[in-house]
Amino acid sequence: MITCRELIDFIARYLENDLSPEERSKFDRHLAGCPPCLSYIENYRQTIVLSKAAFGEAPPPMPEDLVKAILAARRKAT
């Protein structure tokens, strides 16, 4: 039986389906008897979802002075 420490070390590989069948079986057996680790994995998965959502899809507009500065720098460089 693997420990919580060992399980948590392998979460990323577990979520990417990167564990061997034997490792996966040990992982699942631990999870079946360890609600805190099950919660930890769920938190970890939610953390990834929240990170991706944190920055949204549409970026804010670029400040007009920055656009002007970039265009001016290009003119100066040519």
């Binding site: 990323a12 930890y40 938190n43 991706k52």
Partner: protein, 209 residues
């Protein structure tokens, strides 16, 4: 970074439109350069601000990156889209800037990682975050909390988390850009997610009590 009005959705060019824009850029057409900046600038500026956590540095990097793109447009072969090509140029410029300003000792991430008893079991059992976290992605207040929490991560971990989970680069490319090996990227990403989980856990536990 606070909530702001979104930039207008960039005009989508088909492959032919993009080829035409590249041809005009190569010919030194000033209007074409302005179109390039207006179409791709907002997304690239947002990315530079995320990576650098500094508006001043993001502005400098964006300016350098657009000039670099303008100077090397003759080397753009169309193997990727213009958008992907620019994305890589800005990431490279941002990482160079991060290296230049890395002067002070980075703080340890250990305090944000889970702790264990001698028998390998968790010292502080995790609990499910519940509805607050599940509905969180839609709430600006929570997105702001997550952005602020990401900014609290030690820089080498924050950078990997941003490149892998937000910019969606693969492990090999992230390793190449940061000049570290693939295993280092995997370890840093895992630790960064664990540390971010710990920072969010404090807030989500509060909301459960």
């Amino acid at each position: 970074m606070s909530a702001q009005k979104s930039a207008p959705t960039p005009r989508r060019r088909g492959p032919t439109g993009e080829e035409a824009l590249v041809a005009r850029l190569r010919a030194g057409d000033e209007q074409a350069f302005e179109e390039l900046v207006n179409e791709h600038g907002p997304r690239l500026y947002a990315m530079a601000r995320r990576l650098l956590a500094s508006d001043e540095d993001a502005r400098d990097v964006l300016q350098e990156a657009f000039l670099a793109a303008f100077r090397s447009i003759h080397r753009f072969e169309g193997a990727s889209t213009l958008s992907t090509w620019l994305h890589r140029i800005v990431i490279n410029a941002a990482i160079t800037r991060l290296r230049q300003r890395r002067r002070s000792e980075e703080r340890s991430i250990e305090d944000l990682l889970p702790s264990f008893r001698d028998d390998g079991h968790g010292a502080e059992p995790a609990i499910e975050w519940g509805e607050t976290a599940r509905s969180a992605p839609e709430r600006e207040e929570t997105r702001e909390l997550v952005r602020r929490s990401i900014d609290l991560l030690p820089e080498s971990y924050r950078t990997v988390l941003l490149l892998r989970d937000i910019e969606q680069l693969d492990t090999a490319e992230t390793a190449r850009l940061l000049d570290v090996n693939v295993n280092t990227v995997k370890v840093r990403l895992h630790r960064a997610r664990q540390a971010l989980r710990s920072l969010l856990d404090v807030r989500f536990r509060e909301s459960l009590s």
